[in-house]
Point group: C2
Chain length 222, copies 2
Amino acid sequence: MATADLFQKITALTDANRDNDHIRIYIDSNASIPDRTAAILEGGADPVPAMADSLRKLESCGADCVIMPCNTAHYFLPRLEVLTKLPFLSMIQAAAGACRRRFPGKTAAILATKGTLSAGLYQEALAAEGVAFLVPEAREQAALMEVIYQGVKAGASPERYREAFCSVTDGLTRRGADCFVLACTELPLAVRSLGLDLPCVDPTGELAKAAIHFCGYSVKEK
Amino acid sequence: MATADLFQKITALTDANRDNDHIRIYIDSNASIPDRTAAILEGGADPVPAMADSLRKLESCGADCVIMPCNTAHYFLPRLEVLTKLPFLSMIQAAAGACRRRFPGKTAAILATKGTLSAGLYQEALAAEGVAFLVPEAREQAALMEVIYQGVKAGASPERYREAFCSVTDGLTRRGADCFVLACTELPLAVRSLGLDLPCVDPTGELAKAAIHFCGYSVKEK
């Protein structure tokens, strides 16, 4: 669903008036890629061979750049980049840059999987942009994993995870968070389903804009 | 956006609880395919070479069946089928079958592009299913083309095309339509954006279900 969300955002954000004004997009929605967090933290199956298979397919279609709508997958980016001459656009860098531009001087809370957090992907990127940040406490992180895995990925009704999600954002706000980086691609879907109006950065949307610019197209003005 | 809609519907309708339960989907969102209605009615550029290019790419990725989220494109299906051994699932047949099952004994109105209508794609399929049908009058058809091209495809605000769309469905209802086949992939998007509660068949959703069944997966119960 995260891939469909990215595709939809690229289409909606491209300044286009007819079918032929759009970017050509190849997608391999490869459900056989093993869970990324499990691979990072629990010695689960290595996702790189399946990701490399997708990469070869997109390459042979004729793609000019590669984007991955999974934050945790960016942990494996260095191993993928050596397999291809195609440039990858990083959703982590796109989101960290947007965070600095949109919330200058503010403190961001990183909402992500355990895999993304323990790999330090966002901590590093936000520090490089000079953005102060917080991460969830252990209990909050466990609640967030429930929201992601038993909530959004499982297709549960938003009311099943509203309380858990809001307890996490409330706790982080009390500890000083001014805005939220929705650093797992299920979370922009959760925030939309819950109808929440949070100050947040959506890495999927930022990656969509980065891809539109890379391909030489313009982002539509609201 | 129609392709993103089909992708989203396949994902939402697949009975899955985690990423790895989903169908692998290859997409070539090929914006360079010439306009299908213009090709059928006005001697516009032939879309088949660009469609064949997409077909070859999906084939080389390893697809087991092919689906096209464009009703009008089905006019060219016989010319595409001879180019591949892969089966195409027809969204026209999927929608006509759903119309018979869901609205037995009722009269369906076909809302489609001029190209789809003049090719008789839905008239033929509904007749084969024994479903009575109506088509828009010339003035209604012109209004519908505006909704599709200057409204949805151009990314216009739904309020810009609400009156035009509702005048078409009101006229058809007065002439005896019991339900509507949203036989252009922009129209399910229009009906959703307008928040209308019409008795209708969504060919994109029916094609999604046909693909899920073909791939040996189950459709999620509501």
